[in-house]
Symmetry: C2
Subunit: 153 residues, 2 copies
């Protein structure tokens, strides 16, 4: 018995809307339909969607996954570029890690600007803006206080 879109969603831990989106994007085939127009899927679709989700977890773009699926479907071509793809991703991920570590150290510098000795006032704004020292706080209430007047995203 075929699966409905909700079943496929559960089986692959994917949202229903995302499945329809992948179909629109040509990653999933147009499925059979029931008399009432419901999409009907098979185990093959479960596999294919699992494949897609695994690739997404590896940070691949939908375009790359499309190409990988095409390769999987017609395996006559060389697989050299798969290796290239993986190498490229490793390099990108290393790059990202490096720049995040730099960012983290910047942020920690920022945090230190306001911590410890409060004699010279909160330096975070000053750090971000070399001309204006933080005019509030005056070394009195410059303390980590989670949940206090955080701006809404």
């Amino acid at each position: 018995m075929p699966l409905k879109i909700g079943d496929l969603a559960k089986a692959t831990d994917t949202q229903v809307v995302t499945i329809r989106y992948y179909e629109k994007e040509g990653l999933l085939r147009q499925p059979e339909r029931s008399d009432s127009g419901y999409r009907l899927y098979s185990e093959t679709d479960v596999e294919r969607l699992h494949f897609i989700r695994r690739c997404r977890q590896h940070g691949m773009s939908l375009g790359e996954i499309r190409a990988l699926l095409a390769f999987r479907d017609s395996p006559t071509s060389s697989c050299d570029w798969i290796n290239f793809l993986v190498e490229k991703h490793i390099a990108e991920v290393e790059q990202q890690i490096e720049s995040l570590q730099l960012l983290k150290s910047h942020l920690e510098t920022l945090r230190r600007s306001c911590g410890g000795d409060h004699a010279h006032g909160c330096g975070i704004i000053a750090q971000l803006d070399r001309d204006t020292p933080c005019p509030s706080c005056n070394g009195l209430h410059c303390r980590l206080a989670p949940g206090s007047s955080v701006p809404s995203r």
Copy 2:
């Protein structure tokens, strides 16, 4: 003499369109205009845009920067939430680094699937799709070859 938008762009290493975008988003004030309608900026705007770009480099969203600018402009409020913001960012960045390191180890496993001993064929597709072994390559041409038939993004 006031700066034109291109001068401001050069001074802050920002694209012209991005400056107009920030204006539309309320991060930069509506600037004076020349007789012919050109935007005219001052050193204050250079500072402000530098501030914005520095915050962006710290991974802050435009919404957060808007709030930081409001704080900077009217320093009557408590600066507790700036500390909270920085703490939150550090935690987020740590989280990102962690998950990227996991991803990297996954990718390296993938790479190993096709490297070294080729006796058992390219395993990358097989790794991504536990049922289908990679039917091409047959352990013959499964080798890193950058620039070969890479799919276009």
